[in-house]
Structures are given as structure tokens and as C-alpha cells.
């Protein structure tokens, strides 16, 4: 019997998905720079923020994944 899915698992999945999308977009922009970049674009916030979200999301997804009880 499966236990109820924790809210923290949902949070993990959301952050994991967002981290992946934003990180990949940041890497893409390394090779295809924007024509109209935002301020401080040189800091590549999409890469490190995306990586942070991805790692946080992965941690929560694994820690709170539904298990059989």
C-alpha cells in the first residue's frame, strides 16, 4: 500500500523541473548570447540559479519520494 505523497515531494519535483529547464537555457545562452541581454548578464545567473534549483529539487524529490508502507 502506498502512503500519501508528501507536499515536499511536489516541491522537489517542481524545483527539479525548473532547475533543469533554466540550467539548460543558461548553457544554451553561453553559446548563443542574447541580442538584448539583461543587466549583469555576464554573471550567468541562469546557470548557477538553475543548478541550485536542480540540486535542491533533486534532494527533496529523493528524500520525500513515495514509498510502500
Amino acid at each position: 500500500m502506498r502512503q500519501e505523497i508528501s507536499i515536499w515531494f511536489f516541491c522537489g519535483v517542481l524545483l527539479l523541473s525548473y532547475g533543469l529547464v533554466i540550467f539548460v537555457e543558461g548553457i544554451w545562452e553561453l553559446f548563443h548570447p542574447l541580442a538584448n541581454p539583461p543587466v549583469l548578464y555576464n554573471l550567468h545567473a541562469a546557470i548557477w540559479w538553475g543548478a541550485f534549483l536542480w540540486i535542491s529539487g533533486l534532494t527533496y524529490t529523493l528524500k520525500f519520494r513515495p514509498r510502500r508502507s
Partner: protein, 575 residues
């Protein structure tokens, strides 16, 4: 409480011809992922909301962390975020008072003093507590006004949010209104309070990860907090934008036109305590806690996070003063001249720093903030309607299954009334000001009625009803007086230099005092209730259940002390 004042600036907004930015495919993907997860949660939790206790109270199974984050998230609407970022641009760091003294003491008071009575009385709502303590009259008055005002406010929030999406992204008003409200209706009607709470926690996380980059990158750009302060002083040629307390000695010595007595007694005591301890929209989240210890800890956890919110709201407003290459203006000037308004401060900062993907995350945070506020409104409306109006006066003997069905239908009806209000406001914008004012009339007196009921066993049924009514009428009377004769503001707010903010605070203070005086006088004129009837409702009448913590540092009161200590330190630092 703060959302009422916070988005008042936004309400005068009208659609402008330009849009700030547009989203690309990655941004759209971010938004679609969010909606997919939110809807999935609603369907997933449908099976866990089959009894009234599950549907309206989330089965009273929420942990302290979930109840605490939901408690603060229900208040953290996107209009609150943008409204207070705008206020920070307009008034400086003074806007932080609505997050600190205007919230923290009241939240801690709720957790330490009031929560045990709400919890052990097993009430399902604040009007429900009034019923147990004062009888049907006070319950009917508070339930009807709360239910009506909640759905109207929800509609106004909805319209204002759609307007923001039009200004920022060029989205059609109808599209924004219908997509967001149908989504909220679906997940609240399906999963009840549990679904609303789950989504509020999700939205709270999203708001932080979506908005946190702006202050981080902003501080990097200006070279830290000290440089930011120096640049604000240089740009504006005045120092009162960067001090919390030192400019409050006189109404005319600060940009907000307020006095420290109004901030401390009006905002910090009456308005704040009224909102955070008696507005069922937020109290309902804490009532869902799984035991009394969680119920006491939840507001304390919420207070800790609330104290950090100025970092993602006030700081972007202050940064906008220094980094934007143009000046923001009031709505009427913005409409007439095509300039950007104060209310665009936060979206402008998002656009300034966020590349594709990050921009989608920021916009999703705004949408999430809006939806959490709306879900809070409709779930609270559904509960009060079903328990305190329908179940109390229209159909007392229905089955539990019937009440759950009524809860689902009233959720849908609440959303439809909200949508109707949104379209009504679109055609008659002045309605917004009146509804806002109406909502504010009930908060301060309700706090007087509830706190006397909890702490004073002599308060009687008749006194509860007439005190609440007297306080409400006092508030309405003072409001009408200033509208008819603007010079009356000097009497209501005690100074000819007072401005609108000061009026709100002092009006609340007078309404609360009127409520308390009438309640006390009528209590002494009427027969008291037998003490045995007050068991579990009033301080000193029945012992509170003992909590057994293994260690001293696990006690809620210790953590409340830690949060309050930090609150004092922050106020001193930014004095």
C-alpha cells in the same frame, strides 16, 4: 491586513498601451509546468477530502511547518508583493513596518496566547468561536460580513492581477481572469482546504525562488547595502527614506505622513492584531494543525518567514530608486504621460535582471502569489458559508456528505461571484475603494470582541454583539466623515499633517476602543454567563492541556522569544 493597504496603489491602474516585456518558449514552459502540478495536486487530493472535517479543516492533520508556511503564504499575494515594492519606492524603508511591527508581535501573540483557545474549543472558524462564546448574534454578524467581503475582495484581486498581466505582458484581461480562476476553483473544489494548503506551500517556495534573484543581483549591482543607502540619499537629497523609526517623531518629518503612535498603537496593535488573529482567511490555516503544539508553533514559523519577506519585496523597491534610469510616477500621471508607475517597480526589476527562463520563473511567482491569495479567500468563504451561514441558519440537520457537497458548490459559486466582481470593477473602478474600505471596517472591532471574549470571563452575549456592531459603526462613521469633509482628517488622525496611511491606523484604533468600551459597559449591565459554560473558551476558566517537550528548546514559547528577539534587533539596526 497588509494586502488591503498594499495594493491600494494598484487599484487605480488602468490598462496602458505599452507592455514591459514578452515571454518566450522557455518562459511559457515554466508557467505550463506550474499549472500542470497545481491541477494534479487537486485531482490527487480529491479522494482525501470526503468528510466535512477533511474538506474544511484538512482533517486537522497538517504539521507545524506546513500549517505555518500556508499561514504566511495565504497572505503573500502578488498584489501584496507588487504593492509593497511600489510603497518602498514611494515611501522608502518605512514600508517595512507592515511586515515587522505590523505582523510579527501579532503572529507570536496568536501562537502563544490565542491559539490554545481556538484549538481546544474545536471551533472550525472564527465566527464559530464567536458562536460558542457570544451566541448566534455575533456569529451571524461576523459570518455574513466576512463571507461577503471575502469573495468581493477576491474579485478585486483577480481584476487587479489581470490588469498587471496586461501591463507587463500584454495578456488579454479575460484570458488572465478565466484561466487563473478556473484553475483555483478546480483544485479547491476537488481537494478542499488540504489542496489549498498544499498549493500554498508550493506557491510559497515558488515566490521565494522566483523573486530572490532580484535583490541578490540588485545588491551586486549597487555594491552592497551601505552603497545602496548612500545612493538613495544622494539621488533623493533626503535621509528619511532609509530609517525605520528615527523620522517618526512628527507627521511631517517622513514621506508617509505618519506618527510613531499611529504605527505602534494603530498598525502594530489594532490593525495587525485584528488581521493576524481574527481574519479567518489566515487563522483557518493554523486550525488545520495536527495537535495543539503544532497549532502554536505554526504562527511562530510563519512569523520567522514573514520577517524575511522585506528582502524580496522592500529591497527591490529601494533598489529601483537607485538603478532605474527613469523616475516612476503615480498612476494618474503614468496614464496621462505614458511613464512607468510605482506599481511597475517589481516587474521592472524582474525584467532588468532576468533572462529567459528566469523571467518565466518570476512571472510564475507572481501568478502563484495571486492564486494562493485567491485560494485562501474561496476556501475560507466556503467554510464560513457552509458552517456559519448555511449549516447554522438555513439547514441545521443535513448529513455530513451534504455539507461536503455544499462546500464544493459554494467554492464554485464563490469563484463565480469573484469573477462577476472583477467584471463589475472593470466597468466601475470606484467600487474597489468602497469594498476595500468595507473590509477594513470589520477587522479592528472583531479583534476587540474576540480578545475580550478570550481573556475576560465577564463579557456577556449581548455585549459581544453590540460591542462588535458599535466598533464597526464607529469605523464606518469616521470613514464617511473624512470622505464628506477631508479636513476632518486632522481630528481622526490627530494632526493636520496626517496622510491616508495615518487615517487608516487611527480609524482602526478608535473603532477598537469603541468596541471595547461598549462591550465592557454592556457586560456590566447584563447577566454574566455561568462559568461552566465558558470552559475551554476563556482564559483562567479551564486549565490548558499540558505540552510535554523533551527539551526546553522544543517549547513554542522559546522559539517565539527567539523570533521576537530577532525582530527587536532588526528594528534597532534599521532604526
Amino acid at each position: 491586513m497588509d494586502r488591503l493597504i498594499g495594493f491600494s496603489n494598484l487599484l487605480a491602474a488602468v490598462p496602458t498601451a505599452h507592455q514591459l516585456t514578452h515571454l518566450n518558449g522557455v518562459d511559457i514552459l515554466i508557467i505550463v509546468i506550474y499549472f500542470a502540478i497545481v491541477i494534479f495536486i487537486g485531482f490527487y487530493l480529491k479522494g482525501a477530502s470526503t468528510t466535512s472535517e477533511e474538506f474544511f479543516m484538512a482533517g486537522r492533520e497538517m504539521t507545524a511547518w506546513i500549517a505555518g508556511l500556508s499561514f504566511v503564504s495565504a497572505n503573500l499575494g502578488s498584489l501584496e508583493l507588487m504593492g509593497w515594492a511600489a510603497a518602498a519606492y514611494q515611501y522608502g524603508i518605512l514600508a517595512t513596518h507592515w511586515y515587522w511591527i505590523g505582523a510579527i508581535p501579532a503572529m507570536l501573540f496568536l501562537g502563544i496566547v490565542m491559539m490554545p483557545f481556538y484549538y481546544i474549543s474545536k471551533t472550525h472558524s472564527v465566527p464559530g468561536y464567536l458562536h460558542l462564546r457570544y451566541g448566534e448574534g455575533a456569529r451571524a454578524l461576523s459570518a455574513i460580513t466576512f463571507a461577503a467581503m471575502t469573495v468581493l475582495m477576491s474579485g478585486i484581486n483577480m481584476y487587479s492581477m489581470a490588469l498587471v498581466m496586461k501591463v507587463v505582458l500584454g495578456w488579454d484581461l479575460n484570458f488572465s481572469i478565466w484561466v487563473s480562476s478556473v484553475t483555483v476553483a478546480a483544485y479547491v473544489a476537488l481537494g478542499g482546504l488540504r489542496s489549498a494548503i498544499y498549493n500554498e506551500v508550493l506557491q510559497f517556495i515558488l515566490i521565494w525562488v522566483g523573486a530572490l534573484l532580484v535583490p541578490i543581483l540588485g545588491l551586486i549591482e549597487v555594491g552592497g547595502w551601505s552603497n545602496l543607502q548612500a545612493r538613495i540619499v544622494t539621488n533623493l537629497g533626503r535621509t528619511d527614506y532609509v530609517h525605520l523609526w528615527s523620522t517618526l517623531g512628527h507627521f511631517s518629518s517622513n514621506p508617509m505622513g505618519v506618527h510613531w503612535t499611529g504605527i505602534v498603537f494603530g498598525l502594530g496593535f489594532v490593525v495587525s492584531f485584528g488581521y493576524w488573529t481574527t481574519d479567518f482567511l489566515v487563522v483557518q490555516r493554523v486550525l488545520s494543525a495536527d495537535n495543539i503544539r503544532s497549532a502554536r508553533l505554526a504562527p511562530i514559523i510563519g512569523a520567522a518567514f514573514k520577517m524575511a519577506v522585506p528582502f524580496i519585496v522592500i529591497l527591490p523597491g529601494l533598489l529601483a530608486i537607485t538603478v532605474l534610469p527613469f523616475h516612476l510616477v503615480g498612476e494618474s500621471v503614468a496614464v496621462a504621460t505614458g511613464q512607468h508607475s510605482y506599481n511597475e517597480a517589481l516587474p521592472l526589476m524582474l525584467v532588468r535582471y532576468c533572462s529567459p527562463g528566469l523571467l518565466g520563473l518570476g512571472v510564475t511567482a507572481l501568478i502563484a502569489g495571486f492564486m494562493s491569495g485567491m485560494a485562501g479567500n474561496v476556501s475560507a468563504f466556503s467554510t464560513v458559508w457552509t458552517y456559519d451561514i448555511y449549516g447554522a441558519f438555513l439547514n441545521r440537520k443535513a448529513t455530513d456528505k451534504h455539507y461536503v457537497a455544499m462546500g464544493r458548490w459554494s467554492t464554485l459559486v464563490g469563484v463565480m461571484i469573484s469573477i462577476g466582481t472583477a467584471y463589475l470593477v472593470q466597468n466601475a473602478p470606484s467600487i474597489m475603494d468602497y469594498v476595500q474600505a468595507l473590509f477594513s471596517f470589520f477587522i479592528a472591532p472583531l479583534f476587540g470582541t474576540v480578545i475580550l471574549g478570550m481573556l475576560w470571563k465577564r463579557a456577556t452575549k449581548q455585549a459581544g454583539f453590540w460591542g462588535l456592531l458599535a466598533g464597526t459603526l464607529t469605523s464606518i462613521g469616521l470613514w464617511a466623515w473624512v470622505r464628506l469633509d477631508p479636513s476632518a482628517l486632522r481630528y481622526v488622525a490627530l494632526s493636520p499633517d496626517a496622510k491616508d496611511m495615518a487615517e487608516n491606523m487611527y480609524r482602526a484604533l478608535w473603532a477598537w476602543i469603541a468596541c471595547v468600551i461598549v462591550t465592557v459597559v454592556i457586560s456590566y449591565m447584563t447577566a454574566p454567563r455561568p462559568v461552566e459554560e465558558l470552559e475551554g473558551l476563556v482564559y483562567g476558566v479551564s486549565p490548558l492541556p499540558e505540552e510535554h517537550d523533551e527539551h526546553w528548546y522544543q517549547r513554542p514559547v522559546v522559539w517565539a522569544g527567539v523570533v521576537f528577539g530577532l525582530f527587536i534587533v532588526l528594528n534597532v539596526i534599521f532604526w
